[in-house]
C-alpha cells in the first residue's frame, strides 16, 4: 500500500513537472518571438544607420555642406615641379653619413 502511495506521489510529481515545463515552454515561445522581433528591428536599425552614414558622407552632401559653410573652390593651385634625385636631400635618398 505504501509503495502504491509513493508511486502515485511520484507520478503526481511527474505530471506537475510536465505541466510546469509545458507552461514554461509555451511562454518560451513568446520569448523566442520577442527575440526574433528584436533581432529584426536591430537589423533594420543597422541598415537605417548605414544609409544615414552613406548619405552624410556622400560627396554630394559634403559639397553641399561646404557651400553652406562658405567654402569656395581654390582658383589657384600651386604645383611643385618634379625634383630630380640629385636635388633631393640625402636622407630622402636613404644615404647615411
Amino acid at each position: 500500500m505504501r509503495r502504491f502511495k509513493y508511486t502515485l506521489a511520484f507520478l503526481l510529481v511527474l505530471v506537475l513537472a510536465q505541466v510546469g515545463v509545458s507552461v514554461a515552454y509555451s511562454n518560451f515561445g513568446g520569448t523566442i518571438q520577442e527575440l526574433n522581433e528584436k533581432a529584426k528591428s536591430m537589423a533594420l536599425e543597422n541598415q537605417r544607420l548605414r544609409v544615414q552614414t552613406a548619405k552624410q558622407e556622400s560627396l554630394t552632401n559634403v559639397a553641399h555642406v561646404a557651400g553652406e559653410l562658405g567654402f569656395v573652390e581654390s582658383e589657384v593651385i600651386y604645383l611643385t615641379p618634379k625634383a630630380s634625385e640629385a636635388q633631393l636631400p640625402t636622407s630622402v635618398n636613404g644615404e647615411t653619413n
Binding site: 526574433n36 556622400s58 615641379p81
Partner: protein, 575 residues
C-alpha cells in the same frame, strides 16, 4: 433478463464497432486531409527576402545600396476621419517623399494635386485597399505611426538607395521590375544582376494560437543568400569632378550631349559620366533614350582622333617612320569622283608624319593609309577591337560592325584614315588610346575590381587582348601626340609644365546621306603624364554650338578636367 443484457451488450458492441469504424474513417481515410488542415493552422511559412548587394566605389563607399522602405495603404471602409482631413495630413508627408527637390513655385500646385489624389483614393468607400504611396521612408512612417489613425497600414519593401543621387547613373543602371520581381537594367545593375540579386530563403515553423513559435516543434529554415557586393575601380573624387565638368561643358559649349571617360592604361575605369543623365530612383520618369549609357551604346564617326590608330598601325607595319615625308601633301587628293581636302584648306608639302599628326592633315593620313593598304588597315582595325565589343562589364554595350575586308574600296581606305566612314563607340576609342599608353597592349576595360560578401571574395582579373602594336610604335605615336598637344590647334589650352599626349577630333555628323558641316562630334582623347600615364581620358561633345571645332570645345574641357585631376592623382609638373 439475460436476453435484455445480451441485447444491450450486442447494441453496445455494434455501437462500439460503428464508433471504431467512424474513428477509422476520420483517422485513417481522412487522415491526409485533416493533417493538411491542421498543418495549415499551426505551420506557418515566411519568405526571407535576400538583400540586393551594394555597388561600392574604390574607397568602399556605396554608390548604390539597398534600403528598407514602406508601402503605405489604406482601407477606406475603416478610416474614421473624413478624406478631406486625412488628405491634408498625408498630402504633405507623401509629397515630401515624392518631390524632394521641387522649387517653391511648383510646390503649391503639386501639393494641391497630391492632396486631391489622396482625397479621391480615400473616398472610394467600396474598396478595401488603396495604395497611397509605393515608397515612404522610415522617418515618414514614424510620423504616420505616431498619428495612430485607424484604417491605415504599411508593408515592408526593399528599394535601392543612391547616396550620391544621380552621380554615375549611366554606369550603375537601375533596379526595375519584371514579372519575376526586381531586376537590374543597364550598367552594372544589369550586367551583374544575378550576382547582386542573391537568393531568397524560407522559414517554416509550428506556431501556437498566439502566433508564437512552439519550442521543439517543427522548424525548417532555408537561409537567404544575400546578393554579393561589387567593389569597383570608380574613384568617387574623379567621378565627382567629371560629373561637374561635363554638365558645365555641355552648357558652356551649347552641346546636345557629352561624355567623359577616365581609365587607367591597363583598363581600370576610374570615372564615366554622360549628360543628359537621369535619377536612377526615378528611372520611370526619364526618357527611354537617356537610360542607355552612350559611352558604350552609341556609335559615332570619330574624325581626326582616329588618326592616332591609323598612324600607329602604319608605324607598326614599318610602312612609314616619324620623319617620312608626305609627297602628296601639296593639295587636295582626287580618289574616283571624290576630292579629299584638309580641314582648313591649308597644305603642307613634304610634311613629316609627326607634322601630319600635329596639323591633323587629312592628305598626310591618306598618304600613310595608302602605304598601309586596305588589307593591313583592316587587320589593324580588327586588332584594335574596332567592330566588336570591348567586353566592358556594362549590360548595354553594343558595337557597330566593321565592314567586310573585301568590300573596302580606295575611298573607304582614304576616309577611314581620318576617321570618317567608320563608326565606333567612345569606349572603343578610349581603348585605342589606352593601348598606346599601355605600350601597345590592348586592355579590356573593367569596372568591377572584386565581388565580395558573406565571407566570399573573388577578384575579377584584369585582362588584355595582347599586343596590337610594338612598344617602339607606341612610343613613336605617343611622341607625335605630345607634339600635337604642344604645337597643334589646341596648344592654347594645354597647361604649362605638364607633358600630355593627346589628339583632337572634329567629325561631321552624317545626316540623311550627307555630312552636315555645322553639326559635328567634337572629341579629345589623351593621356598624362605622357611618359608614365596615370590616366587616359576621352571627352566627347555632340553638336557643340559655340564652335564646331574640338580644339575650341572638347579640348578646353579635357584640359579643365585634367587640371583638377593632376593634383588629385598627385601628378607633378615636369618643368
Amino acid at each position: 433478463m439475460e436476453k435484455r443484457i445480451s441485447l444491450v451488450a450486442t447494441l453496445l458492441a455494434v455501437a462500439t464497432f460503428l464508433l471504431i469504424l467512424r474513428l477509422g474513417f476520420w483517422q485513417v481515410i481522412k487522415n491526409g486531409e485533416f493533417s493538411r488542415i491542421a498543418r495549415a493552422q499551426y505551420l506557418t511559412g515566411e519568405e526571407i527576402t535576400a538583400q540586393r548587394g551594394s555597388i561600392l566605389a574604390s574607397d568602399g563607399m556605396p554608390l548604390a545600396a539597398s534600403q528598407v522602405s514602406w508601402q503605405l495603404w489604406a482601407d477606406p471602409q475603416k478610416i474614421e476621419k473624413s478624406p478631406l482631413d486625412l488628405s491634408s495630413t498625408f498630402g504633405p508627408l507623401i509629397f515630401r517623399e515624392k518631390f524632394p527637390d521641387v522649387s517653391e513655385e511648383a510646390k503649391l500646385n503639386l501639393l494641391k494635386s497630391e492632396e486631391e489624389r489622396i482625397k479621391k483614393l480615400l473616398g472610394q468607400k467600396e474598396k478595401r485597399w488603396v495604395l497611397l504611396s509605393d515608397k515612404v521612408s522610415d522617418e515618414t512612417l514614424k510620423t504616420i505611426e505616431s498619428l495612430k489613425l485607424a484604417g491605415f497600414g504599411w508593408d515592408k519593401v526593399n528599394s535601392r538607395f543612391y547616396p550620391e543621387a544621380s552621380m554615375a547613373a549611366h554606369l550603375l543602371g537601375f533596379l526595375g521590375k519584371n514579372e519575376a520581381g526586381d531586376r537590374g537594367y543597364f550598367g552594372l545593375e544589369g550586367f551583374y544582376d544575378v550576382t547582386l540579386s542573391g537568393k531568397s530563403g524560407f522559414v517554416r515553423q509550428e506556431e501556437d494560437l498566439r502566433g508564437n513559435p512552439i519550442p521543439f516543434g517543427f522548424f525548417s529554415n532555408v537561409p537567404a543568400n544575400n546578393g554579393l557586393d561589387l567593389v569597383t575601380y570608380i574613384d568617387r573624387g574623379a567621378q565627382f569632378i567629371v560629373e561637374k565638368y561635363i554638365k558645365e561643358g555641355v552648357e558652356k559649349y551649347g552641346a546636345k550631349s557629352g561624355s567623359v571617360i577616365i581609365m587607367k592604361p591597363t583598363g581600370e575605369i576610374l570615372a564615366m559620366a554622360s549628360t543628359p543623365s537621369y535619377d536612377p530612383v526615378k528611372y520611370n520618369q526619364a526618357e527611354q533614350a537617356v537610360l542607355k549609357n552612350p559611352v558604350v551604346a552609341d556609335a559615332f564617326e570619330p574624325g581626326s582622333v582616329f588618326k592616332i590608330l591609323v598612324m600607329a598601325s602604319a608605324l607598326d607595319a614599318d610602312v612609314v617612320e616619324p620623319d617620312t615625308k608626305c609627297d602628296i601633301c601639296i593639295g587636295p587628293v582626287q580618289i574616283g569622283k571624290y576630292a579629299i581636302r584638309t580641314w582648313d584648306e591649308k597644305y603642307h608639302p613634304d610634311s613629316t608624319m609627326e607634322e601630319v599628326i600635329v596639323h591633323s592633315d587629312n592628305i598626310g593620313m591618306v598618304f600613310a593609309a595608302n602605304r598601309l593598304g586596305k588589307e593591313k588597315m583592316w587587320d589593324y582595325l580588327n586588332k584594335f577591337g574596332i567592330g566588336r565589343l570591348t567586353d566592358v562589364d556594362l549590360e548595354e554595350e553594343a558595337s557597330p560592325d566593321l565592314r567586310d575586308r573585301d568590300s573596302w574600296g580606295d575611298i573607304d581606305l582614304a576616309t577611314a584614315s581620318f576617321g570618317q566612314g567608320v563608326a565606333i563607340t567612345p569606349i572603343q576609342l578610349i581603348r585605342v588610346a589606352a593601348a598606346i599608353a599601355n605600350h601597345g597592349v590592348l586592355p579590356i576595360p573593367r569596372i568591377v575590381e572584386k565581388i565580395q560578401g558573406g565571407g566570399f571574395e573573388q577578384k575579377v582579373p584584369l585582362q588584355d587582348e595582347g599586343r596590337v602594336i610594338s612598344e617602339e610604335a607606341a612610343g613613336q605615336i605617343t611622341r607625335m601626340m605630345i607634339a600635337a598637344v604642344k604645337y597643334g590647334e589646341s596648344k592654347w589650352v594645354a597647361p604649362k609644365g605638364f607633358v600630355v599626349a593627346g589628339k583632337t577630333g572634329t567629325a561631321q555628323i552624317p545626316i540623311a546621306g550627307h555630312y552636315d558641316p555645322n553639326k559635328t562630334m567634337a572629341s579629345f582623347v589623351g593621356f598624362a603624364p605622357a611618359d608614365n600615364p596615370k590616366f587616359v581620358m576621352l571627352v566627347t561633345l555632340r553638336e557643340p554650338s559655340s564652335s564646331p571645332w574640338a580644339s575650341e570645345t572638347a579640348a578646353p574641357l579635357w584640359f579643365s578636367i585634367a587640371k583638377e585631376l593632376f593634383p588629385y592623382f598627385g601628378i607633378q609638373p615636369e618643368e
